[in-house]
């Protein structure tokens, strides 16, 4: 008995570490949630079926944890062997018992009082590697915490807030590095993606998302507009360990709505890029919006899936884009395979054979306003998509709305918003939130589910035949993944702006979602 007890203790001690190999095989540990997307491919599907279409109606609140600050609580928690780690706005970080919600430790990073916070005070979550946790701070730093007690081990600058940089995304741990991009596309920064040494915090490489003078692509920016062209990789990307490639969605060009001061395609703004994870060198790119003027970045999850495409096994990349189109690319070469609109759109006439969009005659914002669909926030945005491999179905939530876009010449000033225009909702035109199940081979909708309002909630797929998502009114719902039928709902009492996760501890499956200023966890009775 004693030896069994010791063995169990030892196993627990070993399991608390998360080496790179565990991240590579994260999907084979459905009981845990080890990265922001839950897996390197951004698939957000879990082989857990204790909660399923038959019993999800009985799902009930198991525990809730209140964080000190309310507001946009955009975290996606990590779960490592029964311990949940999560961040909250204003530099907060917590570890709790994933079964009870009881606190194990809490930490707070003090944000300088006078700092400009380009994305507000939000944070989207941790990365874990070894026995360490990594988080961005809204004023543009990367922190390393000891997962045993939350102690800060190092703290490095990713981008100076004084120049309009910030960082809100969860870092991505790859091998011995942490990959993180900057925010600041509305402040005329020059975007970049960085890799930091996990042990020391020393920067290993930096890839500028806007090529410098003399580099290929710099000629796609008129004059010196590339110096303040935005294009920040502000969300968390994905990674293919076999190919050694990082996939990242790049932000919009700056100024957002006035393209006259930055003529040209503006590479690599509004693009999906593949980078060598070891060196940060660009391998391929696909630009979804050459010379974008609608804040339609390509920061949405570049999801990785291996499927037969027209009878041939192929390594694919899916993205539901802010511009309202679902894209399929070959992720080895970047070759464009298909694009199909999932939202109302009036900007694209189609695509040429290289996948370059053919624009309608007049899509740019004007001084007197131009009605274009989708709206400024999309289409899709950072709400997480999901993919059910059994059903071969891609799920996303997006905004069905249009806006009137206005352009306005604006002088650039460092550290100041640089929109170059504005937008307005269109009165008496219906807008709503939509969840769609897409056939990834055709882009056609298998079903759709409407919410009353456009909503910032992502999706989660499980082998229980369920799709979890929610809405801006605070409803967390379970839909039948096959039909879109509503199977369970609860009013969480506050709007939500992240995506649910699921995990298992000691044979019991849980569902966790941040809402308002609380982290809510549900389970079957």
């Amino acid at each position: 008995m004693r030896s069994v007890f010791c063995a169990a203790l030892l196993m627990l001690a070993v399991r608390a570490e998360v080496p790179y190999e565990r991240l590579v095989n994260a999907s084979s540990e459905p009981q845990n949630w080890l990265t922001y997307h839950g897996d390197y491919g951004g698939v957000r599907h879990r082989e857990l079926d204790q909660i399923n279409t038959a019993n999800v109606k009985d799902l009930r609140l198991e525990w809730l944890f209140q964080v000190p600050k309310s507001g946009r609580f955009e975290t996606v928690p990590l779960v490592v062997d029964g311990v949940m780690y999560f961040t909250a706005p204003e530099g907060h970080a917590f570890a709790v018992d994933a079964r009870s919600g009881r606190e194990l430790w809490r930490r707070r990073h003090r944000i300088p009082e006078n700092a400009l916070l380009v994305g507000g005070s939000i944070n989207r979550g941790f990365a874990v590697l070894g026995g360490r946790l990594y988080m961005a701070t809204p004023e543009g730093r990367l922190l390393c915490l000891d997962s045993r007690n939350g102690e800060e081990l190092w703290d490095v600058e990713v981008g100076p807030w004084q120049k309009g940089f910030g960082a809100t995304s969860a870092p991505l741990a790859v091998k011995d590095k942490l990959i993180i991009g900057v925010a600041g596309g509305e402040y005329g920064v020059r975007g970049y993606l960085d890799a930091y040494d996990a042990a020391t915090g020393k920067r290993v490489w930096r890839w500028y998302s806007i090529p410098g003078k003399g580099e290929p692509g710099n000629e796609t920016w008129s004059g010196d507009s590339w110096l303040r062209g935005g294009a920040p990789p502000w969300m968390t990307g994905t990674y293919d360990p076999q190919l050694g490639l990082l996939y990242w969605g790049i932000g919009n060009p700056a100024p957002d709505l006035d393209g006259d001061v930055r003529k040209g395609d503006n590479l690599y703004s509004s693009s999906i890029v593949a980078l060598d994870a070891n060196t940060g060198k660009l391998v391929w790119h696909y630009q979804t919006m050459p010379h974008d003027t609608h804040d339609w970045d390509a920061a949405q999850t570049p999801m990785l899936a291996d499927l037969d495409w027209k009878g041939q096994p192929r390594k694919l990349l899916f993205q539901g884009n802010r511009n309202g189109f679902f894209y399929v690319l070959d992720r080895v070469t970047g070759k464009f395979l298909m694009a199909k609109a999932f939202a109302r759109q009036n900007w694209s006439r189609g695509f040429d054979e290289t996948g370059r969009p053919i624009y309608e005659a007049s899509i740019d914002p004007t001084p007197d306003g131009n009605r274009i669909c989708p709206g400024l926030a999309g289409g899709a945005n950072w709400m997480a998509p999901a993919f059910n491999p059994q059903l071969k179905t891609f799920y996303l939530q997006y905004f069905e709305e249009c806006h009137t876009y206005y352009s306005m010449p604006q002088q650039f000033k460092e550290g100041k918003p640089y929109w170059g225009g504005t937008y307005q909702s269109i009165e008496n035109e219906r807008k709503w939130g939509n969840v769609k199940a897409l056939d990834p081979f055709t882009g056609e909708a298998k079903w759709s589910f409407e919410f009353n309002k456009p909503s910032w909630v992502g999706t989660l797929s499980t082998s229980g035949g369920l799709l979890f998502t929610g809405d801006d009114d605070g409803y967390l719902v379970a839909l039948d993944a096959r039909s879109g039928k509503l199977l369970w709902k609860i009013n969480t009492g506050a709007s939500m702006a992240t995506a649910p996760i699921t995990y298992m501890v000691k044979g019991k499956q849980y569902l966790t979602m941040a809402s308002g200023g609380a982290l809510l966890t549900f389970a079957l009775p």
Binding site: N114, S121, S362
Partner: protein, 256 residues
């Protein structure tokens, strides 16, 4: 696209010449604030800045604090403006507040207007301070937030501008019964109305056969008033500015 680029500078020049110059604070506002607070301060992702009582205060010091520090726990970020920019922005924000229209001189007699208000039983739908119905808009500060022309039009042709929150919703329930009321709340699965008797009428959407928003105002047009009666009633409404407490904060519910 190339052709458009070639033409665009010409178009912009033409627009710039034909338009009157705008206050410098306006461009600062449009490029920094309007995405959340609306192009004319009407609100959107952020609060309405053109009417109502700002939660964080009304003085320049209050505004300066909110702008430079942001609002903790909300998407309102901190902004850093140079002194001159801040002054221009504050000036523009002040100009957005429609309370400035209250200096207009009303032509009629407010006391007589009050009598007409009582006679027409306006309080069956509206309220002033704590007296009257909660069905329609609160008028306690309507004089501080609306122009005389707007007040006049609201009486004779209320459908000319119906604030979204006071648009009538007509529901036919599954059992065939019909209800018309003001939408107190609605989400993906439920609808909450208030009827003219000031009762809540609550629906699960599965209980609703049909629902639609009325284009016309729920308020009938009062087009048969004499010009004198109309002047008096407008004068009375224009005199409603809410109470001022010792702290200098105006009481009264937000005028919508």
């Amino acid at each position: 696209m190339k052709l458009l680029w070639a033409l665009a500078p010409l178009l912009v020049t033409a627009q710039t010449i034909s338009k009157p110059p705008v206050a410098p604070g306006r461009s600062i506002y449009l490029s920094n604030c309007s995405l959340c607070h609306g192009a004319t301060g009407e609100g959107g992702r952020g609060p309405n800045l053109s009417s109502g009582t700002p939660v964080h205060g009304t003085t320049d010091a209050d505004l300066r604090r909110v702008i430079s520090k942001g609002v903790s726990g909300t998407p309102m970020p901190s902004f850093r403006f140079e002194g001159s920019e801040m002054a221009q922005l504050l000036g523009y924000l002040r100009s957005l507040r429609t309370t400035r229209v209250a200096v207009e001189k009303a032509p009629g007699d407010a006391a007589s207007g009050h009598v007409i208000y009582e006679k027409l039983r306006c309080n069956a739908c509206h309220r002033i301070d704590k007296s009257g119905s909660v069905y329609g808009p609160d008028l306690s500060r309507v004089g501080a937030g609306r122009s005389l022309a707007y007040l006049r039009e609201s009486i004779v042709n209320p459908s000319a501008d119906v604030p979204p929150v006071y648009r009538g919703v007509a529901v036919t329930a599954a059992d065939g019964s019909r209800v018309t009321g003001i939408r107190v709340n609605e989400d993906s699965f439920s609808l909450q109305l208030r009827n003219i008797a000031q009762q809540f009428v609550l629906f699960d959407k599965s209980e609703i056969k049909e629902m639609g928003e009325r284009k016309e105002s729920l308020m009938p047009p009062y087009s048969n008033l004499t010009p004198k009666e109309l002047d008096d009633l407008v004068s009375y409404l224009a005199s409603l500015r809410g109470a001022i407490t010792k702290q200098g904060v105006k009481k009264g519910v937000e005028v919508r």
